[in-house]
Symmetry: D3
Subunit: 140 residues, 6 copies
Amino acid sequence: MILLTRKADFSAAHFYWNPAWSEEENVRVFGKCANRQGHGHNYTLEVTVAGEIDGVSGFVVDLKLLKEILEREVVSVYDHRHLNYEVPEFAEASGAVPTTENIAVAIWRRLEGKIPGARLHRVRVYEMPDLFADFYGEGA
Amino acid sequence: MILLTRKADFSAAHFYWNPAWSEEENVRVFGKCANRQGHGHNYTLEVTVAGEIDGVSGFVVDLKLLKEILEREVVSVYDHRHLNYEVPEFAEASGAVPTTENIAVAIWRRLEGKIPGARLHRVRVYEMPDLFADFYGEGA
Amino acid sequence: MILLTRKADFSAAHFYWNPAWSEEENVRVFGKCANRQGHGHNYTLEVTVAGEIDGVSGFVVDLKLLKEILEREVVSVYDHRHLNYEVPEFAEASGAVPTTENIAVAIWRRLEGKIPGARLHRVRVYEMPDLFADFYGEGA
Amino acid sequence: MILLTRKADFSAAHFYWNPAWSEEENVRVFGKCANRQGHGHNYTLEVTVAGEIDGVSGFVVDLKLLKEILEREVVSVYDHRHLNYEVPEFAEASGAVPTTENIAVAIWRRLEGKIPGARLHRVRVYEMPDLFADFYGEGA
Amino acid sequence: MILLTRKADFSAAHFYWNPAWSEEENVRVFGKCANRQGHGHNYTLEVTVAGEIDGVSGFVVDLKLLKEILEREVVSVYDHRHLNYEVPEFAEASGAVPTTENIAVAIWRRLEGKIPGARLHRVRVYEMPDLFADFYGEGA
Amino acid sequence: MILLTRKADFSAAHFYWNPAWSEEENVRVFGKCANRQGHGHNYTLEVTVAGEIDGVSGFVVDLKLLKEILEREVVSVYDHRHLNYEVPEFAEASGAVPTTENIAVAIWRRLEGKIPGARLHRVRVYEMPDLFADFYGEGA
């Protein structure tokens, strides 16, 4: 078994806000991230797949196909978007707060089962170079 | 003469929009940056000052003071903000489009004349690792 | 379960020396690191915690609190210090040689049990960009 | 147990080509990597070893020795070479396609059993900053 | 006046060889770069243009257009190519040795006069992260 | 004319202290850098030379020779050293405070006139990734 990781980038706006809390409570918990005008980040996504190396091609996964899947399932949905208003998993009434942790889980769910011939192993999301979350799937 | 450069970071949301144009024209010129929900970036700022080395301290500028000036004049105003709504030079009726070029000029104007004992030499702003603007002042 | 990693930096001096060995033996094993005047590094610390995402806040750990803990328990003790003279785990008679491996273990011991609501998962220490150690705890 | 990782770099040329396929099939699967003139990369290698910290030296592995082993077993063979013509595991009749995955496996086989006092844990190979493969050994 | 810089990447193979010299002389001057099988690099190109900021768009140059020009004039010609065999300025009988310096000059000549509304200011080429050349034009 | 830049690294200890000042004054000006046990950094040096490209070799300067000069004149003197005790320009009675600015000037003086066939154009020294000094020579 071998692991292959490909990175992708997206730039998005977000803020942290729990409508069930007062403004004071939101600011106490979320600090300056609670500014509802939003701020933003250059996110870096690392997607790791696991599998066996194909003896003929030398690939664990078709690289062009993997790039297309990341573009279609994640980048086209998140890039140049305001996560709190335009991305369903964070924008809907039942939406989660778009923390780095929740973004990693949401991207996992978008990618799981979509990569032919390999198993999704890890989703890593950097919000900034000094902060990132890793998700290995629901049962991990 | 020697040059000293210090970096600082801020995370902000923005979008590109000219109210005098139609939506079609805005999209034609600005592409996905014209999405008025906004998106965002981790901006990196490099401020370069020029001067003579003080023979006693070995400094061209007091580093702690320079850091405080960058924090007070720029980071506290731009960080975790939506540039189009919260930063005067881009938010007011006469505000400029918050392109990387205009952000570099605006930061120059915020810093010019504020650094004791040294001359502001260059303001560099990275919007992403692969795109940056340099401004050397009005007369340069 | 999800993993969240935050980085922190500290600049410190150190040298490698075993008082039970001759100078020749120290130089043979430690090379130029055996220079007892000391040299130094910009260390980068990555601390990874594991836990469940809080359904309300979206956090596995309070980020501001995590930053405060790293500052209080590690950075304030190690930064701008000479590890061999000023940091107890390396300075005392029973102190260890401040190798990257021993620094990772020492930081683990400083952080273990101090992070409310999450489990310390990994401590990674970079001495230079091309050399780092990972520690997952005593029983790992 | 602790993990220690050291990086090394090599610059090499390669191309992807399966002689059992037509030119069309090679281009369909390998895209522009199928150009048989070759192209090239600055590869980055990360070698991770696992072991116990020596209580006297503070090392899990002698760093100078590890560097020499990486130089002798890998860098001197791969650096400034055309992988498809000059490196046996890719050049011989039975050679594999020099994909990032196959390079990681080949480097594992070159290093396994060569590092005194520690166990080879992981070989990571970056072909570019946004693409890398991890191999943990045949039985992993 | 303001400067705007955009980066682009290409991966290529090359070697250094002067056909007027003996093999010994080539190896003496070019070292391991004289291996005629070729090796390769991930090159990074930084193109800087100078101009006035358009008061309406806030751009010194149309970013999408600049990206297209870099792709058409440079990346499509150099990427995944063997410079010594496939890129005319290095492959022809009168071709130059593809050193970092000569690549910077060649890219300048490919771009000069092609960027509407702005002046080409600098071409920087990184062969590796620790080696780069800057060219400011023939008369500079 | 073209510019060629090569990087080199050294790890060193230092502290800031003016013996003519009281301890209070040293701490007021230099902050935690005034700790006389010393701390340290991974310094990065960028040396830029200017010249004409040799029409035969394609080099502005012999790269192997440039690397040897940087090693002999700078790295062998600064690396794994305590600047305040072991490097003459900072250690002697008349020594300067080893600030980033003074280190850049000192390295310029060590290199000036030592690079055959090219002119020293700039010395850049990074003390940390977010702080660097540039020196262009005495008359610049």
